[in-house]
Symmetry: C2
Subunit: 154 residues, 2 copies
Amino acid sequence: MPPSVSPGRAAARVDDLVRQLRARGHRLTPQRLAVLRVLADSTDHPSAEQVYQRLRPTYPMLSPATVYKTIDVLKAMGQILELEFREGANRYDVNIPVSHPHLVCTSCGRLEDFDVAELDRLAERAAAATGFRVLRHRLDFYGLCPACRDDRAD
Amino acid sequence: MPPSVSPGRAAARVDDLVRQLRARGHRLTPQRLAVLRVLADSTDHPSAEQVYQRLRPTYPMLSPATVYKTIDVLKAMGQILELEFREGANRYDVNIPVSHPHLVCTSCGRLEDFDVAELDRLAERAAAATGFRVLRHRLDFYGLCPACRDDRAD
DNA sequence: TTAGGTGCAAATCATTTGCAATCTC
DNA sequence: GAGATTGCAAATGATTTGCACCTAA
């Protein structure tokens, strides 16, 4: 069973997203609502494929393309954070849709948040030093999570 | 004309890589040497395709697969840093083959180094706080480089 | 009624791989 | 001469897209 956020918070986030979709003239289909619910309920940064797999038992008619298209709409609204990976699928976070650091286990794929207060200051410094207009960032630490570290009997 | 490092430094790096290849029992073909030279001579973090294009005039017989395979060997030796991008090609740095921060222009693809002294400390803090064994990291700031910022008439 | 949405299947595109021919050592 | 390397072409795999049908508003 994948980890989830408190039911109340997830529901509130879904309501929030539904309101924003409607405000943009989007429709609310059962498939789209189901995708929103899975995303809002997850803390493990699922891939599109994982969202699809979690919904298949309940929505056998769902297609992967619909999951991707729903994610596209959320991206256009700036309401989902996409973590791109060339090998393996992209991972998503609809609960904290702005740039923030992560720890990534290169063995099992576990992906968790990690707070770094000074990041914004670093971004400002980078902008000032180079003349770039910095709009977002990505800070990932890659390695082995506790479980995978122990498996490798160190 | 792509930016390049000082001829002496690039040549020394090529010599270094050639030595390491030989030590591992690899052979030195004209194609492979040419790829090493382009990589060592570049500061703009070229993609495999860009390496291929830069060599085509001089080595019309070269194939993209050979560029990829040479990069694979360098990866196995830990002598090249690979920056993965899901959309667009991966970018490479053979001159500083360890994790270090970058600024990335999302408009023109410009990619340059940026030093952040406190990063190692942050990595240690992340490791201590979560139990992960942190092996490498990635810090990218995304935005508009000075030229692209001005183009958008702000 | 009518855009927007869905789902299938085909297309995309950087990268990888199988394999016969060709080189380096 | 042996084994690594090359280059072509086909395969891969996550994601995107075209399009006929459907359905929420």
